[in-house]
Symmetry: C2
Subunit: 221 residues, 2 copies
DNA sequence: GTCTATAACCGGATAGAC
DNA sequence: GTCTATCCGGTTATAGAC
C-alpha cells in the first residue's frame, strides 16, 4: 500500500503533465510553471518532487528504457543467432524512440554535458546505464565467446548502441532509412569482427585491446 | 583600415573578456553581465555584438581548429610512421583544448543538438568539418593503403577523433591520464586494424563495410 | 517528518530611448 | 552603437499545513 501515498500520486501527476506538455510543445516550449499548473500544483511543489526540469526529462528517458526492455525480451527469447539478436534489439530501440525524434536532440544535448544529471556516463545515471548494459549482456546470452572478450563485450555493445542513437538523432532521412542501413550494416560487421577476433591467432591483438580498456576505465569511486 | 573600426574593437574586447572569464570561472559561472562589465560595455551592448551567450562559444570553436592545424603541421612534417602521425595529431588536439576542459562540455552540449548551428554534422559547419577531415587526410599522406579504404579513411579518422574528444570531455582523471591511455592504445589498435584490413583476404569484409558507409552517407543536398 | 504554497532571486534575453 | 529598464522562466528560500 505504500505505493500510492498522496505523494506518489502527486509525483505521478506532475510527471505525466510534463511528458504531455513536452510532446505537445517540446521541451524548451514547456515552462515549469505550465507543468505545475497543468498538474494542479504550485511551482514550488513541482520542485519538491523534481529537482530540476532536466530531472523531468530523465524520468522520460527512464520510461524509454523500460519500454525497450519490454519489447526486447520476446525478441531475445525467439532469436538464437547473435546477429539477429543484436539487430532485433537495436531495431526495437529505434522503434521505441521514434515518436520522440523531434526533441530527442535535447537528450544528447544535455547528455553530452559532463555536468548534467542525464549524462549517461555520470553517477546519477549509473543505474540506468547498468540496466542498459545488462540488456546487451542478455543479447550475448548463450553465445560462445573467448572469456576475455566476453567480460567486456556487454559494455562495448552498449556504447556501440549509444553511437547508433547519436547517429539517429541527426538522421532526417525518410523513414530514418540511413539509420536502418547503419544498423543492418553494422550489426553484420560487429558480428564478423567478433568472430575474427575470437580466432586464437589474434589473441595478442585482443590482449592489447583489453589492456587499453582496463587502462581507460573509470576507477570505481 | 576597415579592420579596426570602433565596432570591431568593441567586439574584440567583448570576446576576449568572455573567453578569459570562461577559462577562469567556466561557462555557467560566467554571466553575460560579468562579460559586459569586464569589457566595459553595457549588457545590452554585448548583445548588440553577440546574439547569445552561445555565439560567444562559437568564436572559441573556430579558434581551436586553427590552433590545432597550426600545431599539427610541423608534427606531420617530422613524423613518417602512421601511428606516430596519428598519435601526434591527436595529442596536439588534446593539448590545444586542455585549457578549455572546464567548459568544453557546454560546447559539445550545443554541438550535439541537431538543431544547433554548432552541430558538427550539420550544414552550417560543413566547412569546419571538411577542414577537420582534411587534417586527417594529411595524416594519411604518404601512407600506402588499398584504394578502397583510402577514400573513406579520412572521414572515419575524423569521426574517431570526435569520439576521443567526447571521452576527454568526461575525463576528470589527473593529467587526463585516461584519455592519454585511450589515445595511445587506440592509435595502436587503429593502425593494426588498418593493416589487417588491408590484407587481400579480407577484401569481402572491407567491401561490405564500404557498402554500408555509402548507404548511410548523407545525400549531398 | 511529509508535503504544499508564496514570494523572491538570478541571469539570459529584448525593447526602445538617445 | 550604446545605454537603461524590463521581461521571462528556471531555481531557491522559507513559512507553514497536514
Amino acid at each position: 500500500m505504500a505505493k500510492t501515498t498522496k505523494g506518489e500520486q502527486t509525483r505521478t501527476r506532475i510527471l505525466e503533465s510534463a511528458l504531455e506538455l513536452f510532446r505537445e510543445r517540446g521541451y524548451e516550449g514547456t515552462t515549469m510553471r505550465a507543468v505545475a499548473e497543468s498538474a494542479g500544483v504550485s511551482l514550488g511543489n513541482a520542485y519538491y518532487y523534481f529537482a530540476s526540469k532536466e530531472h523531468l526529462l530523465q524520468a522520460y528517458y527512464g520510461n524509454i528504457h523500460e519500454q525497450h526492455a519490454a519489447v526486447a525480451g520476446p525478441i531475445l527469447e525467439q532469436e538464437k543467432e547473435l546477429e539477429k539478436r543484436l539487430k532485433g534489439v537495436l531495431r526495437a530501440k529505434l522503434a521505441v524512440i521514434e515518436p520522440y525524434h523531434r526533441f530527442s536532440g535535447l537528450l544528447f544535448r544535455t547528455a553530452a554535458d559532463p555536468k548534467s544529471p542525464l549524462n549517461p556516463f555520470g553517477e546519477e545515471s549509473a543505474e540506468a546505464r547498468s540496466k542498459g548494459i545488462d540488456l546487451y549482456r542478455a543479447v550475448l546470452d548463450g553465445v560462445k565467446l573467448p572469456p576475455d572478450i566476453a567480460a567486456e563485450l556487454p559494455e562495448l555493445l552498449w556504447t556501440y548502441s549509444m553511437g547508433i542513437v547519436l547517429f539517429w538523432l541527426h538522421d532526417d532521412s525518410p523513414g530514418r532509412a540511413r539509420t536502418h542501413a547503419l544498423v543492418d550494416g553494422s550489426t553484420e560487421l560487429v558480428v564478423k569482427i567478433i568472430r575474427i577476433l575470437s580466432n586464437p591467432l589474434l589473441r595478442p591483438l585482443r590482449k592489447s585491446a583489453l589492456e587499453m580498456l582496463a587502462a581507460i576505465r573509470t576507477p570505481p569511486s
